[in-house]
Symmetry: C2
Subunit: 723 residues, 2 copies
Amino acid sequence: MSGIGSLDVFNADHPELKTNMGVDYVVHYKISKDKAEAEAGFTQLIEALTTVGIACEVRNGDETSLLVFLKVASEKHLNAHIYRERVQDWLYGVRITAPDKDVENEFANQAITEAERLRTVYLLITKPKNEGGAGIVPKIGQWKDVASIFPLHNHSFNRKWITQWSTKYILSEHDLDEIRDKFGESVAFYFAFMQSYFAFLIFPAAFGFGAWLILGRYSWFYAFVNSLWSIVFFEWWKKKEVDLAVQWGVRGVSRIQRPRTQFKWDHEAADPVTGEAVKVYSPVERLKTQLLQIPFALGCLAILGALYVFCFSIEIFLGEIYNGPFKSYLTFTPTIILTGALPALSTVLSSFAEKLTERENYETVDTHHAALVQKLFIINFITSYTPLFLSAFVYMPFGNLLVPYLDIFKNTAERFASEKTITTQSFQINPDRLKKQMIYFTVTAQIVNFALEGVAPYLKRRAFKEVEKVQSKGKATANNDVPEEHAFLEKVRNEAELDIYDVTVDYREMIIQFGYLSLFSAIWPLTPLSFLINNWVELRSDAMKIAVNSQRPIPWRADSIGPWLNALGFLSWFGSLVSSAIVYLFSGDAEGPGGDPSNIVAWGLLLSILLSEHIYLAAQFIVRYVLKHIDSPGLQKERAERFSMRKQWLEESLGADVTESPIPPTPQAGEVITRDALEEEARQLSSSGGGTPEQLFWLRQQGMDETIQIGRMLISKKKVEKN
Amino acid sequence: MSGIGSLDVFNADHPELKTNMGVDYVVHYKISKDKAEAEAGFTQLIEALTTVGIACEVRNGDETSLLVFLKVASEKHLNAHIYRERVQDWLYGVRITAPDKDVENEFANQAITEAERLRTVYLLITKPKNEGGAGIVPKIGQWKDVASIFPLHNHSFNRKWITQWSTKYILSEHDLDEIRDKFGESVAFYFAFMQSYFAFLIFPAAFGFGAWLILGRYSWFYAFVNSLWSIVFFEWWKKKEVDLAVQWGVRGVSRIQRPRTQFKWDHEAADPVTGEAVKVYSPVERLKTQLLQIPFALGCLAILGALYVFCFSIEIFLGEIYNGPFKSYLTFTPTIILTGALPALSTVLSSFAEKLTERENYETVDTHHAALVQKLFIINFITSYTPLFLSAFVYMPFGNLLVPYLDIFKNTAERFASEKTITTQSFQINPDRLKKQMIYFTVTAQIVNFALEGVAPYLKRRAFKEVEKVQSKGKATANNDVPEEHAFLEKVRNEAELDIYDVTVDYREMIIQFGYLSLFSAIWPLTPLSFLINNWVELRSDAMKIAVNSQRPIPWRADSIGPWLNALGFLSWFGSLVSSAIVYLFSGDAEGPGGDPSNIVAWGLLLSILLSEHIYLAAQFIVRYVLKHIDSPGLQKERAERFSMRKQWLEESLGADVTESPIPPTPQAGEVITRDALEEEARQLSSSGGGTPEQLFWLRQQGMDETIQIGRMLISKKKVEKN
């Protein structure tokens, strides 16, 4: 967190940080290539915005760009939009209670949050024209000069936020609610997840520390408890997620989906629910494209796997066999290759994943995003865990068998070195390799990552600014800013240069971390403790990232952590397989089966995997059963709201007594009539042709007392049952 | 189906079968022990019924019983009850659309079915007094003389029903709807399930026949296809179930739960949803009792397992080792022991299961029933599948090793036989044993079962009647029936003697059958074909059972096949393990590993189980994914109804335009004003103290045209971005 104090944003003396001039959004308009085109585009932009009731002011940006400031012209108009959104929520079942019929009452009962306002305005700007928006989509088609559309940071809130969070250990519900009100549910869900994960980590951190002291590495008991913990955490979070969604009034919001502008459609069809015409893309066509995911995944595995195996072989050869000249330098070779090739390969594969997802041509932003996340998860899974898989399941058990194949490097090296300076030492499996790797991934890598994520952007920006200052020296007033506005405009120019915040990156980091915990932490039981410490920092540095290093995010809604939930469930399950295999291979004998595969009993390994998985599934079943029977406050609230709403509707329209039991007719007072007289009456009715057999049947006993009388008489003539 | 034609019910000439005299229910009142008590009880019965608006007529039953005929006194009163039920459905979310505010319109739109009427009347009779019912529960407490309360069969419907079903191959939706209207959703769901299962069986029957011809026994491919089929069937049924529930308007009806009269409560608490006081039993106490299920299951396994192992040992000893005198008679010993001991043990264990469930003290009929079903499933699982498990996993692989232990029988036998007549032959594993057993369970047992279920009750009743006739000879008119009623009353007396129909028994039979298919059908691929034929008959004989051999069932509602769904899922999954193990053990070599366990490679067995299970889970995942993306017509209908209901409400209360986009204010016509003049204006505002910086910021450009003008001017001065 170095350098934070020095950031302008945290300097309370700056008056320009106190106002956003009532600006809702800023459009960063970059002039590309042709000025005439840019002018025409700009005209269209202002016209489109004005048409939907947005007021604009234009100012200078940097040397090649303008800043257009947007504000909704009429608050009443905006309120009508927000009210309409709320009505739509109710129509689709996101809200349980209907909005108040009186618009003002509605807003008095449930005030408009900043996030709600900003989201509505953003939709107004970006929605297609036929849906009542201005249809402006940054960087696409006629809007290619629109570099970004972003809201302005509320600096006084950010200041308070970061200060508060840095000084407390546990975040309260209130803290999360505040995030939700400012940045929307999508970001709030990330922090809620982080907070829950952090709180849940306390147990395995303590237990892991104990296990490290007492049980040592590769402990059955640690692996079992860890797996159980991951089940409880996963199942608990699924419940918590629903609870939060209800509390924030967004449950089911993923059903109201934002259409993707880039979606290409085949034909139109009537929506089975609303009856409106909707655009459809053949699901069979899409399935064909989706099937490409299989070769994609195999390709990723082959490419990244080959890279890892290659580096791994060199590393073993150099580290544990090679004994020739420059050894101390040469040992860095694999690291250098990896550091160079891995990010490049990842980028290539990721962009390929994006293209693939694009071709799958989803209707909505959410489905597109979920499909992309799935592919990114595959890439990340391979890049993150392959080194440990190779060490645990190839190097350690089969090392001795594989070493002869590494002679290829020796021969290559000998060809280059004319003198016979290449010597080799006999290969010895390094028993600490797995632990060392694990420590690298759980401690070193996390610190490096923190530095890359938190500090680097700041330094980059600083350096960039210095360069700019030197370049624009002497033309400090080139922007012709009015003096009262200058400080404010400079602040906005800074924000325009910031990155766009993408919550996916943060989720990915956490899910991959969870994977290390679930799959490999039996190797080093201090893993959860290290993650606990890391995540305390991470949570705050993520807040910093939003507040300082990124543009203020568009406050999208969400009702869960989305596609990451599946990844979480997968890793938790897969952990039961991998950790049992690791424990079986290495427990007891700290060095593992000592590189001799004949020491491994295949059926023992398979049996331990089989057992472990079934214990996992049984435990999951029990945890689900128990959690299902603990009523969730959120769902309870939802049911109660629905019930009271319906009851109210009922009482309004039908009167209060309809749910009460109807009052039966008063019993007929029985008259004392003899049986014969009655039957006579019935017979008369019959002979006069006035009664059907059915009528007559019910006329034999008139009234309760008579039935009782006759019944008793019949009973008195009966035998008593023998039993 | 012998003897059906001779049953009275199918004789159209009987006029008494054409009317039920407008009777809703009949109370079969049996006088037990004390006549005075019986008279008092009878008085209470009639009083209680009259109080809730039910008219009664009493007639003679048999020698120790009365028949009380019940009819709702006022149709209007009944309609109020039914309307109230519908409102309650809507309150709890079972109905999507609110009932029409006008009661008559409501019933015109959605007519009252026979099932709805009968259910409402039954609830009126049995509900506790404080909930507006008469509180009459057969056989319990003060109502111990009430042997049963049953509705009367609609014989003309039954006649038509059975005739129709016997002459068609496939039941239509309409057939199921009719069952639903007459017997309620609970029975209709059973027939819907049977019908779906039957239709689904066509594929494995054909495939199995092919496999039997071409692939032979123990085929990997058959087992794979069979497992895949069971996944598809299970997942498809889960969807179908929901669809049917929506179609029948009972989705979520399991939430409106019938309270159990026998429930004992600890304390009262406020219901979190409705706010009403509800009776609560400590869930911790219940959990303690529920944990007794574990020793219960182990106990069942031990007792039934021991019995099977004992009989199994004797059988092998006698059949394949023993060669002494009376062999041909002695071979029947195990069968005799089993036939005698098994039903007795099952009954003891079942009644123990009932007691256990009783002690678990559930609030509602449904949870009680589900808990009971779970225990019964365990008992049935053990009794049904143990013989095959023993043969497949003990006798076949380990037979030779176990035979020496059977010497105990030889020694015992020798002790009894003074002469040395006991000779033994060398043990030879019978390779056909497994197949023979499988054929027994899938063909012979099904036929025996059909006979027991369909024909035996009829014969029993016939015999019983003959005895009665002989006994009551000469007192044919002892009942003093009015001649016009005599035939009708005789019919009712017959129905009073019939069994109560329990759909659980029928479900159990089908689920256990599904288990044979899923677990063991690789042994004999003709299994599904045999089941297909059996089920065609079964479906019709079950209809017969209801129509002829049972009292008309109370038409309860249900929204699924209930706890059997879990059993189905379990068997489908377990089948993937068991059938892969069987195929691994016996494929290739038809005789299996020949009794020598060293031929079995443990890791091979484990690997095939592990692989098979994961292929199963992956296939399940895919099938679920695909089925999830096929929209279910039922859910679609539900969503559409909800949507249109809300939309209508909205239009009624807010006007049609609220879901339309609000019209933005017309854009301001821009005036041509120079920039300097504008800034001057702003400055004036500022110097006169009339504007905050925010106001001034938005005043610099007045109107759209000016913003455009200034923007274009700014652009013209910019550099073009280099890229």
